[in-house]
């Protein structure tokens, strides 16, 4: 465990423009063989640095079961991400530190029904778990994905969603906030669709949710209303982080370090934390 503050160099293998402001960067380590030692589980994050601009925290959006690369989906939001969008192209090199943080409770969700509730860029960490679960499909029972975005053009991973829709063992429900002419699927915010369209089975089901803070808040409310137990609701928190090592103190919520004890929490754990996320 030494010099974890110094990043490893990765090459951008592919850039996918998901939506007008979200790009997925497919990364490979520059040094051969590094990819084999870089093991991670769904839900963990990396520190992505565009050298000279700064460092940002992103969840890994792919699963380690898909070998040879990993993805980071980046939404243009702040200074560094704007720099990444404007200057980072295929073949460029970036620094990566990680993986950090905990992961989705893979043992706990084995043999359960799974319900994924994602909103906007919040599908990225879920995608990692979805890929993992698809690759280990035998371990899980029913499989539902509810994904909402503001508009149809704001939906990321369109190609992959199509794949999921074609997969008979998955149930995919899509929704957008406001009606559009060409949109044939559901319209409405995620919690509403969850209650009215998805109508999930409560028994033996784990819900994994991620999205903007406001969406998470209302989704959890409606999940509780539907009768889910706190321990069955799993979410990943967004928090400003810088070191990822439990030192810089930026991600403190109470005595919890989100970068070490999180970012994946069950609602049960969230309730015990002070309301500062």
């Amino acid at each position: 465990m030494e010099k974890l503050l110094i990043p490893m160099i990765c090459k951008v293998d592919k850039v996918i423009q998901e939506t007008p402001d979200i790009r997925t960067y497919r990364l490979k380590f520059r040094e051969e063989g590094m990819m084999d030692t870089f093991t991670y589980l769904p839900g963990q994050f990396v520190e992505f640095s565009l050298l000279g601009s700064g460092e940002c925290t992103f969840c890994i959006a792919s699963s380690a079961t898909r070998k040879g690369y990993f993805d980071c989906s980046i939404k243009k939001a702040g200074v560094v991400t704007a720099d990444i969008h404007s200057s980072l192209e295929e073949g460029d090199e970036v620094g990566i530190r990680g993986p950090f943080g905990n992961w989705f409770p893979l043992e706990d969700i084995k043999g359960k029904n799974l319900l994924f509730v994602g909103g906007g860029i919040g599908l990225a960490p879920l995608r990692s778990l979805i890929q993992y679960c698809i690759d280990n499909r035998g371990d899980y029972k029913d499989f539902t994905i509810l994904y909402g975005a503001r508009t149809s053009s704001d939906m990321c991973y369109k190609d992959e969603i199509k794949e999921w829709q074609d997969n008979p063992s998955l149930k995919v429900v899509l929704t957008i906030d406001r009606p559009e002419d060409t949109w044939t699927s559901n319209v409405g915010v995620v919690p509403k669709i969850l209650e009215e369209v998805v109508k999930p089975v409560i028994e033996n089901t784990k819900v994994i949710t991620c999205g903007p803070p406001i969406m998470i808040k209302y989704t959890i409310q409606s999940l509780l209303k539907l009768g889910f137990a706190d321990k069955d609701i799993i979410t990943t928190l967004e928090m400003k982080m810088q070191c990822g090592l439990g030192k810089c103190g930026r991600c403190n919520i109470g005595s919890t370090y989100v970068c070490k004890d999180g970012p994946v929490f069950t609602n049960e754990q969230l309730k015990s934390l002070p309301d500062e996320f």
């Binding site: 050298l51 940002c56 702040g78 560094v80 620094g95 103190g249 403190n252 070490k260 002070p274 996320f277």
Partner: protein, 352 residues
């Protein structure tokens, strides 16, 4: 095992300091613009080991520098390269003079956070190579409250060598650790004579008694800690943080605040990544790129600061993060005292 103790007079203590400066790399409080900061010294005339506590910066920068290079990098269109920085100038064998007890204690507290999970090797090296000589204060300052907290100031073992100005006019130099004992067994103590525990103990005790009696601020730590941990949502935080100007000074002078930020600087193709201090009182501290800020209001940031010092760190690492040095209060432009804040809030909790 017992460590050696020496006794000498005022001049002998000076000679002891001089002998250390002659043989070791030494850091001591140096005055600049009326404020003492720990700097490299080579003669006793440059520094003042007895600097007043109210005007002395903490020794934290000698272990956790205000700005440290994390790495160097070259980023061109042809490729990117990162390299480690040159040798750490703070990791050499050294002695620090004139350290206050609260400062020495702060390192003990900081050890916990630097030694959990990922071990910060730079910090470890600096720590291992340093001998800390701490002088016990004779009198508490206006804002001191170290005796009220969760550690035993009298038998503090955070320093390697303890210097006490005895009530009998003599100076006592006492080793507290193996490292300190080793230094004292060299010829730096040639102007002092060894004494036994039986002789020193009563003198040290009476000195401590007069020191402990001089405190203006006293609190019931257990009660405050307990009360604070129970009240998160109290409007009292809004009241106590009312006149805070969010200037962040408290965190920068605090001997135990350890939050930092990472920033890159680049000229042409080469650049350096720095790690420098940051403060949770800064509105930007938790502001995320999307605009979401978990602590947007001043009272929330104050609550984080007070609770981290008195509750969270205790919960996590078993020590109180505040060491009671009062540096934040002295530096604060509007004299907000963390002592008053926690007491006021816990008193309000009592009423509820």
């Amino acid at each position: 095992m017992s460590f050696s103790t020496f006794v000498t007079d005022k001049a002998g203590l000076q000679k002891f300091y001089e002998a250390i400066m002659a043989s070791q790399e030494t850091y001591a409080p140096v005055e600049k613009f009326g404020k003492f900061d720990f700097k490299r010294v080579s003669a006793l005339a440059e520094c003042d080991p007895e600097s007043p506590i109210a005007k002395t910066m903490s020794i934290k920068p000698l272990f956790f520098p205000r700005t440290a290079k994390v790495m160097k990098f070259v980023a061109t269109s042809a490729g990117t390269d990162v390299s480690e920085v040159d040798e750490d100038p703070l990791a050499v064998k050294r002695v620090i003079l004139g350290v206050k007890h609260c400062d020495a204690r702060s390192l003990q507290v900081l050890d916990k956070v630097y030694n959990w999970d990922y071990i910060d090797t730079d910090y470890q090296n600096r720590r291992q190579n340093t001998v800390i000589i701490s002088t016990r204060c004779d009198k508490a300052d206006t804002h001191c409250f170290c005796t009220s907290l969760d550690y035993d100031v009298e038998n503090l073992d955070a320093m390697d060598i303890l210097v006490v100005h005895g009530t009998d006019g003599k100076e006592y130099i006492k080793a507290r650790t193996e490292k300190g004992n080793e230094l004292l067994s060299s010829d730096v103590t040639r102007h002092a004579s060894p004494v036994t525990e039986e002789i020193t103990a009563p003198v040290l005790k009476s000195q401590y008694a007069s020191f402990a009696a001089s405190f203006r601020l006293k609190m019931n730590y257990k009660e405050v800690n307990e009360k604070l941990s129970k009240i998160f949502d109290t409007p009292e935080f809004e009241n106590v943080s009312g006149n805070c100007v969010s200037c962040n000074t408290c965190a920068f002078v605090c001997p135990t605040c350890h939050c930092f930020k990472i920033s890159d600087e680049k000229i042409k193709d080469t650049g350096v990544r720095y790690k420098s201090y940051d403060s949770c009182n800064n509105g930007y501290f938790t502001l995320m790129a999307g605009g979401h800020n978990p602590r947007p209001a001043k009272y929330r940031r104050w609550r984080q600061r007070a609770m981290h010092k008195f509750v969270y760190y205790k919960e996590r690492f078993g020590e109180n993060l505040c060491v009671g040095c009062g540096k934040c209060t002295i530096s604060c432009p509007v004299n907000i005292s963390i002592f008053e804040v926690v007491n006021q809030v816990s008193a309000a909790a009592m009423q509820e």
